[in-house]
């Protein structure tokens, strides 16, 4: 196989990884700050994609849609936090799992009620469609390069937010000691709403950005949610840095595994069963990666445990 193909696959893995990061960042923040496990995070991803598709269809502008996705997901997140999630902070993980599982049902069927059962149309914005030629002669879709850029910018922004802003200081303090931050006079419930809405907005943004490449339909959030779980378990729950490293690892492993494993099996068996067996193994690869990481570090790569 050519070096060009490998580079293209590595770019694909990177693009997949950074989008997973945007998704996983909110999940890991919400867990780190509030100690909440949120299964409905995937639903916020779906809300973002639907909001973007609906607004883009009505106005003809992808960018308005993107803004709408941020607003809609943040609003949905804040609403859910105020009505449901805040009653769950003091509960054990079990109640959190059940309540957010119920939220998935409500979001999915609610969306189906509003938008119908048919997939929505959402396309890449006109200026970003089509491939560009990279140095070395590789044709690569411009939009995917933009996604990589946006993802890295969000990662940089989050690191800055956590490290250098008042909100970040409160978030880190909140992780360390809830009582202390309350004693400092910070309105903890407003902080929680803000963090939850921030995580929701990131999920919604990821949904809209990826939705332009994929099918915008009910149920699109759950597979991504489970991948995001794998990411933050690998990285260490609560760690933004861990989520970033974990997301890139998962993105690369999955993309390269799907491509290299069938080829590798092709050397030892006939092509048809090689592709089938290789694909079967590739689909399990990230879970094997996760198990491997946990054997060595039960708290994840950057976990506190």
């Amino acid at each position: 196989m050519s070096a060009l193909l490998l580079i293209e696959q590595a770019l694909n893995g990177l693009q997949y990884g950074v989008m997973l990061f945007v998704m996983a960042a909110g999940l890991t923040l919400v867990f780190g700050v509030m100690g909440l496990i949120n299964l409905a995070h995937g639903s916020l991803y779906m809300v973002g994609a639907f909001a973007c598709a609906a607004v883009a269809a009505a106005t003809g502008s992808f960018w308005l849609g993107l803004a709408a996705s941020l607003a809609a997901a943040a609003a949905a997140g804040a609403l859910v936090e105020l009505t449901v999630i805040r009653r769950l902070y003091a509960r054990d993980h079990l109640d959190q799992v059940l309540a957010t599982f119920a939220l998935i049902l409500v979001f999915s069927e609610g969306t189906r009620w509003l938008f119908g059962s048919f997939p929505l149309y959402l396309d890449i914005p006109a200026g970003l469609s089509g491939p560009v030629t990279l140095p070395g002669g590789l044709d690569y879709p411009l939009y995917r390069l933009v996604l990589i850029g946006i993802g890295l910018a969000i990662a940089g922004g989050l690191f800055w937010l956590i490290g250098h802003t008042r909100l970040g200081i409160r978030i880190r303090a909140g992780e360390a000691d809830r009582e202390m931050i309350a004693a400092l006079g910070v309105d903890i419930s407003r902080l929680y709403t803000a963090v939850f809405a921030l995580g929701a907005a990131l999920a919604g943004l990821a949904g809209a950005l990826v939705g332009a490449l994929q099918s915008v339909q009910v149920g699109m959030g759950e597979p991504v949610l489970i991948l995001a779980f794998v990411v933050i378990v690998i990285g260490g729950i609560g760690s933004i840095k861990g989520a970033f490293v974990g997301a890139l690892l998962v993105g690369m492993t999955d993309t390269l595994g799907r491509f290299l494993l069938p080829a590798a099996f092709g050397h030892i068996m006939d092509p048809s069963s090689a592709t089938s067996v290789g694909a079967a193994l590739a689909s399990m690869l990230i879970y094997i990666l996760m198990a491997g990481v946990l054997v060595v570090r039960p708290g994840g790569l950057y976990g506190r445990a």
Binding site: V84, L98, A99, L103, V106, I226, I237
Partner: protein
């Protein structure tokens, strides 16, 4: 408020009475529904050993449920094709005998739980939830893409497996089997909770450091409980596959894990009969709401949400009040 014991008795009598009445009235489908309740409750009893007694929030029990189902399919499918199960190194025939299938399903479930538990129990809390979920997904994708046992199409057996002395094709007789196993499992779970092992396990749920300081390893306790839990859930899986005469990767999906957990929590975590109440309510809601609206899951979600937010301790908790310490 009703005493919990009385409530449990009423629950079991109700589950027994509904199919008998249905039989008398010629409504075999209601018997099928009651059988489904009994089987899903059995899966919940399995999960409750890990969740209620051991405090292990497993979101991957569909793995064991599905493994039980596939144990049934893999053992029974060769019989209807008149082929041996395996020919190398020795020829082993398949089987249509339920007791053999149950034993195989429980062994397979226990083995899988041993492997998954050994890795997952190195972690705790939210990590454990996510890891069990991920292991479940791993098996799910494997089952879909591995071509040998039907992949996503699953495995069909056309005739339900047999049990000595019973006609399992008769809905009421198959119900009796499922109900009997559920009762046995409940008895087992009851004895387990009151046993030395149960005491240590519940101690480890509340305070693992203290239990270790008393000379008992929490990890080993939990792993043992997880294996028992996996075996019971796998038994339920084998029965469920027999109920449908069909097994597919859908049994391994994470929604199945979520639903098994919903039965347990709906009924009341750590309550012996919680899964029975939970499964009964869930099936009732599914069939009642399903008839009302295409969007019935929306209402199911809202009802679940209301129960978890406002009826802590599940149904049995709401009806019987605070759990008394073990007598």
């Amino acid at each position: 408020m009703i005493r919990e014991g009385l409530l449990n008795t009423l629950l079991m009598l109700g589950l027994l009475a509904v199919p008998l009445i249905a039989q008398a009235m010629g409504e075999p489908f209601v018997i099928t529904l009651a059988t489904k309740v009994a089987i899903l409750a059995l899966a919940g009893v399995g999960l409750n050993v890990a969740l209620g007694l051991g405090g292990m929030v497993s979101l991957g029990h569909a793995a064991f449920f599905g493994i039980g189902g596939y144990a049934m399919g893999i053992l029974a499918a060769p019989v209807q094709a008149y082929e041996p199960l395996m020919t190398w190194p020795i020829e082993v025939p398949g089987t249509k005998s339920m007791p053999v299938i149950w034993a195989a399903a429980m062994a397979a479930g226990a083995l899988a739980a041993l492997a998954i538990g050994a890795l997952s129990l190195r972690t705790a809390g939210v990590y454990f939830i996510m890891i069990t979920l991920a292991f479940g997904q791993m098996l799910f994708y494997f089952a879909i893409s591995w071509p040998a046992y039907g992949g996503e199409d699953g495995l069909s057996i056309y005739v339900r497996n047999g049990f000595p002395g019973l006609n399992t094709l008769d809905p009421i007789q198959f119900f009796a089997l499922a109900f009997g196993l559920l009762a046995l499992a409940l008895l087992f779970a009851h004895l387990l909770a009151r046993s030395r092992f149960g005491l240590a396990l519940q101690g480890a749920r509340q305070n693992p450091a203290r239990v270790a300081a008393l000379g008992i390893r929490p990890y080993t306790l939990r792993l043992t409980a997880f294996v028992i839990s996996g075996a019971i859930t796998a038994l339920a899986g084998a029965l469920f596959a027999d109920l449908n005469r069909f097994v597919s990767p859908a049994m391994l999906s994470w929604q199945t894990s979520g639903e098994i957990m919903v039965f347990v929590i709906l009924g009341g975590v750590g309550r012996l009969f919680g899964p029975v109440a939970g499964a009964a309510l869930f099936i009732l809601l599914e069939h009642w709401l399903g008839g009302v609206s295409d969007y019935w899951k929306l209402f199911l979600g809202l009802i679940l949400l209301a129960i978890v937010l406002f009826a802590r301790g599940g149904m049995i908790g709401a009806l019987a009040g605070r759990q008394v310490a073990h007598d």
